[in-house]
Structures are given as structure tokens and as C-alpha cells.
């Protein structure tokens, strides 16, 4: 018998608190694998958000900081400017990044801070119990829009990659998903590129990852395909996957 795969060194062997079917565990692992493969663990600082991933500070095996809701890109700016030899990533959810932290993410991109942002979009507030998020779909039910989100009442879901792509300072923007295997593989390569760009000093990069929240979507926990189906049929048409910006792409 030969060990084919093991826990990445960048991820600690601790029990995660995430719900069954949640995408955070997968995304944590992908980030950790990329850190291992790029050999940057010992100089990486991760920023944990407010939201479900608040405990990311205990899961990653690198220095971590946890701060105010939505301010990750500002913290990242301070860290990176003070210690340019570190690799800094801000791990954020949709409420954190696209609602309360909208100014911070936009201006970090405008300044082209040399950081990597891991943006997990699951279209809902998880930690607080299923309230409407800035990325909640029209018609999607949440505890603050029990009949489903309406554009009249709450406007439309925000498309972060599309919006940030208009900013000159944004170097690399890609939207991926972890609801299926090809998506997971693609997500890892996108994360790898985002971290590599930071290592190379190329500026601001963000990977937006569509992810599942069976608990707050009200999909069946014993049937994870209900949640992955929601990503495929509900989220993908609103949040199309793909590369939104790569300022360093080699032109062919």
C-alpha cells in the first residue's frame, strides 16, 4: 500500500465546524494545497473574515489574523505594506466582501494591492442564520425575504468579478465553483495562479468561488445533490464561470 494523498501541511489536523455539504472545507483544502505546492506556507499570513469562515484562523497552518467584518482587504493592505516579504490572503464570504466590505475590496483593487482574495459566494449569510446576502438570487428565499428576494424591495445580486473587472488595478479575476469535480480542479488552478501572481508582485487578484450552503438554503442535508443542483441551475446563470480579467495573460 502506498499513500497517494495526504492532508496538506498548510492545513492543521483539527475538526472543522462546517456543516455537511458546505464548500468551505473543500476551499480551505485547495488553498492549503496551493500554499504547499508553491512553498509559501512559512511566509503566508491569512486573514479570517467575520462569517462562517471566522474560524479559518485555527484551521490554516500559517500565521493568521481575524479582524472586523468586511475589512480584510484593508488589513491585508497594512500587513503587505508593512511586511512586503509576506504572502497575504484575505478569505471572505459574500456578506463580508460584497456588502459591508464593498469599499475595502474595491479600493484594494484600485490600489492594486499585491494580495490574493479568496471570495466564497454562497448567496446567503451563513453564520447569522440565512439572511439575504448581496448575492442572493432573485426569488431565492432567506430569513429576511421569506417570500424570496424581489428586485423591487432589495435590488439585484451583485456580480463582483464583472464589477471589479472595470478597475485598472485589478490584475486577475476569475469565477469558479466547487459544486462539481471539474469545478474543484479549476478552482485550484485559479487559486494557484492568484497566489503565483502575488509571489511575482503582479498586484491584486481575486478568485470568486461559488459554493454550497445546504443548511441555510434549506436543501436536504442527506441529499447533497439538491445543493449542488442549486449552484448549477440557480447560481451559474447569474454568476457565469470564467476568467474576467488577466492583465498578465500572455497574448497569443
Amino acid at each position: 500500500m502506498q499513500l497517494q494523498n495526504k492532508r496538506p501541511e498548510s492545513l492543521l489536523d483539527v475538526k472543522m465546524h462546517y456543516c455537511p455539504g458546505c464548500g468551505h472545507g473543500t476551499i480551505h483544502r485547495l488553498v492549503a494545497e496551493v500554499m504547499d505546492e508553491l512553498g509559501i506556507r512559512s511566509r503566508t499570513i491569512g486573514i479570517a473574515p467575520v462569517g462562517c469562515a471566522v474560524f479559518a484562523d485555527t484551521y490554516f497552518n500559517c500565521d493568521m489574523i481575524q479582524g472586523p467584518h468586511g475589512r480584510g482587504p484593508a488589513e491585508a493592505t497594512g500587513i503587505k505594506r508593512a511586511k512586503p516579504d509576506t504572502i497575504v490572503f484575505s478569505y471572505q464570504g459574500d456578506g463580508d466582501l460584497a456588502s459591508i466590505g464593498m469599499a475595502e475590496i474595491v479600493h484594494a483593487a484600485i490600489r492594486s494591492e499585491n494580495i490574493t482574495v479568496v471570495f466564497v459566494n454562497n448567496a446567503i449569510y451563513g453564520m447569522t442564520g440565512g439572511q439575504m446576502a448581496p448575492t442572493t438570487l432573485i426569488g431565492q428565499k432567506a430569513t429576511t425575504c421569506v417570500e424570496g428576494r424581489t428586485a423591487k424591495q432589495s435590488g439585484y445580486p451583485i456580480k463582483m468579478c464583472e464589477m471589479l473587472a472595470t478597475i485598472d488595478g485589478a490584475t486577475y479575476l476569475e469565477r469558479t465553483t466547487v459544486h462539481n469535480v471539474p469545478g474543484v480542479i479549476k478552482t485550484k488552478s485559479a487559486l494557484r495562479k492568484a497566489f503565483q501572481y502575488q509571489i511575482d508582485g503582479k498586484g491584486f487578484s481575486m478568485v470568486e468561488i461559488l459554493s454550497m450552503c445546504p443548511t441555510n438554503w434549506g436543501t436536504r442535508l442527506d441529499n447533497p445533490s439538491e445543493a449542488t443542483k442549486f449552484v448549477a441551475e440557480g447560481m451559474l446563470p447569474v454568476f457565469p464561470l470564467g476568467l474576467y480579467k488577466d492583465a498578465c495573460a500572455v497574448k497569443k
Binding site: D63, G67, A74, T77, I79, K83, A103
Partner: protein
């Protein structure tokens, strides 16, 4: 003797911070503190530091939160409305035990108020200001020279006890020009030991986490109580104040910052008219010099608090004296400055009222 330079208070505050080892600054424009970020924008690159003009006060304090977590001496500054925006971040810094340094060049409030100097943020500065139980080390300069020298002390206390520190000044001291002498030693940040809590390049050591939370039952209480111990050490060791003509004083003016400067003139006026007046100037607003006030109250029975607010520090004087002496207030809210004559007349009235009551009792 150190070289004397003619500088604005705000410039001295910025230069003082750089000389005290500041290598990161983030801030947002607001009057009357604009000279601080303006100065930092060209001065920090000269010493290998970094300056960021942030998109908001909220971002500025969080940039400083991040930079401080790496163990770098850093600073943000603002004026009253901007300080309100920074409170969330200050609370987090207190909760994460980060030694940030903040300058507040106070202006008139509440709301947008005006841009003239005021002292209406005393409560905000000394009571924490943000949510939760915490303290901030607060120093109040009364001259451009003190603006230049207090950052040194603020960093020293902030790093020794791991607490946010602040220079609380006002638009008058911030804007005025005076000859300034930098007497505190110049700090080379590279020569400072790397703090054992700082995040950064982490070869051959266990991971570190900077955070302000602990959801486990009972653990937050332990965390806060550990901090309370440090607060008590600060209260015991770091109190600063200045006394003028207190030896034979029968009335003591208690004032800080610009109010203290006006009070010096009022005191001289009163002395000329035969009133035995002294000045007690708290330099640290937290920790407040309680013990010294109690000691003074053994022989001084009348205290007059003079402040450019509706009366905020007066509560600390009352709490300190706890009924041991009369506490009077000369308040000037709305970003106005009291004149020395007005303060003298208040003192005169206090003395006469006292004499009348004395006669009536006989």
C-alpha cells in the same frame, strides 16, 4: 541642545511619530489634521516606511490593525467625525492587544460640527469609544513641542502593555506654529526586538494568531481579566501630570491641552488680583491622575475644571475627589475658546460665594 525648528503642531506630531519609529501610516483627509497625512506621505518613504491614503477612516484603522499585527510601529490620525468611524477598529485592536497609535486633532461636534479646535471627544477617548470593555492610553499635549515628544511615550506604553495609544489634541494646537525641540531619543525600528506575538515570516516557529474573539464559554472573561491586570499596571506606573504654582494654591484649575494654556493666563491674572490659584494639568487623560488629585485635596478645597466641552473631564475630577473638595466647572462647548478673563471671573465668583457661605455659617 537639540535644534529648534518652527513647525505646526500637526507636523510635529507626524515627525515625532517617525522619530519614535513609526514606519506605517494610513489616513484619510479631514480638517484640522490634514498636515499629519500630508507630512507622512513624503516623510515615511525617506525612512523606508509606507504611507497609504485610505478610502475611508474605517479602512485606515484596519490597515493600521493589520500593520500593527506584524509588530511594526504604525499610526493613523483623524479629527472628531473621523474618529467616530475608527472606533470599531480601535475596539478590535484593544481586543487583539495591538499597540496601535492614533492622533485625534479634535474639532467641534457633535455631527459635522465645525473645523475649529474643541475638546468634545474626551469621553470618547478615555472611555474606550468603541464597543466592549477596554482602555486606551491617552496623552494630551499643550504645545507643539509636546506634540513632537508624546508619540515616543505612546509607542513605549503601547508596546510594553499591548494597548492602543492616542494623542488627544485639538485644532488649535494642531494648526499653530511654535519652535519645537525634539528631545526624545530617535528610535531605529530595526534595532527593536521583534515582538513574540507578531505575525509575519514564520520559519521554525509555531503559527501565531492575532484575534479579538474567543467563543468558548468563560474564555473571553479570562482574556479580558488578563487585560485588566495590565490596565492596573498602567494606572500604577504611567500617570503623568504637570503642576504650576500649586504649592500655596487655594484654588486649583484642572485643565488640559488648549484649555490649560488659557488657564495659565487666567491663573496669572488671578494671582495679580491676589487670588491664590494654581494649575493642575493632567497629561495622561487615561490613566487619569486620581491619586495626585486626592493628595492635593488635603489642602486645596476648591477645584475649577476648565474645558472646551460641555463638561466631560469634570466627571473624572469628581470621581477622583469623591466629595473631598468642591468641584466647579467652566465649560465652553461648541468649539469656542474661553478667555483668560472669563476663567478669572469664574474663579472670583467661586471665591466670593465661598466667603459669603462662610460668613453665613458664622
Amino acid at each position: 541642545m537639540a535644534e529648534k525648528k518652527l513647525m505646526k503642531g500637526n507636523e510635529a506630531l507626524a515627525e515625532g511619530a517617525v522619530r519614535a519609529g513609526c514606519r506605517f501610516f494610513a489616513g484619510y483627509p479631514i480638517t484640522p489634521q490634514n498636515e499629519v497625512p500630508e507630512y507622512m506621505s513624503w516623510r515615511l518613504p525617506q525612512v523606508g516606511g509606507a504611507f497609504v491614503q485610505s478610502e475611508s477612516e474605517v479602512s485606515a484603522i484596519n490597515m493600521v490593525y493589520g500593520a500593527a499585527a506584524t509588530g511594526v510601529r504604525c499610526m493613523t490620525s483623524s479629527s472628531s467625525p473621523g474618529m467616530s468611524l475608527k472606533q470599531e477598529g480601535i475596539s478590535y485592536a484593544a481586543g487583539a492587544d495591538l499597540p496601535i497609535f492614533i492622533g485625534n486633532v479634535m474639532r467641534g461636534g457633535p455631527g459635522l460640527g465645525n473645523i475649529a479646535g474643541a475638546q468634545g471627544d474626551y469621553w470618547q477617548a478615555t472611555r474606550g469609544g468603541g464597543h466592549g470593555d477596554y482602555r486606551t492610553f491617552v496623552m494630551a499635549p499643550n504645545s507643539v513641542t509636546e506634540m513632537g515628544s508624546f508619540p515616543h511615550k505612546c509607542y513605549e506604553v503601547a508596546f510594553k502593555y499591548r494597548i492602543p495609544s492616542m494623542v488627544l489634541t485639538d485644532g488649535i494646537i494642531g494648526q499653530m506654529m511654535e519652535p519645537v525641540e525634539f528631545t526624545t531619543p530617535e528610535v531605529d525600528p530595526k534595532a527593536l526586538p521583534e515582538p513574540d506575538w507578531a505575525i509575519g515570516v514564520n520559519h521554525n516557529r509555531a503559527k501565531r494568531i492575532v484575534k479579538s474573539y474567543d467563543l468558548r464559554e468563560g474564555f473571553l472573561e479570562l482574556m479580558v481579566n488578563e487585560r485588566v491586570k495590565r490596565y492596573k499596571q498602567i494606572e500604577a506606573a504611567e500617570v503623568m501630570y504637570e503642576e504650576k504654582m500649586m504649592d500655596d494654591a487655594e484654588i486649583a484649575i484642572v485643565a488640559y491641552g488648549t484649555s490649560a494654556r488659557v488657564s495659565v493666563a487666567a491663573m496669572k491674572l488671578a494671582r495679580e488680583k491676589g487670588l491664590k490659584v494654581g494649575l493642575f494639568r493632567p497629561i495622561t487623560l487615561w490613566p487619569f491622575p486620581k491619586a495626585r488629585l486626592v493628595e492635593l485635596s488635603k489642602r486645596v478645597k476648591k477645584f475649577l475644571v476648565v474645558e472646551m466641552s460641555l463638561g466631560q473631564m469634570v466627571e473624572d475630577v469628581q470621581l477622583s475627589l469623591n466629595g473631598r473638595a468642591e468641584v466647579h466647572l467652566h465649560a465652553k462647548p461648541g468649539a469656542s475658546v474661553m478667555t483668560a478673563d472669563e476663567v478669572y471671573r469664574t474663579m472670583d465668583a467661586i471665591v466670593k460665594k465661598g466667603a459669603k457661605e462662610y460668613a453665613a455659617a458664622k
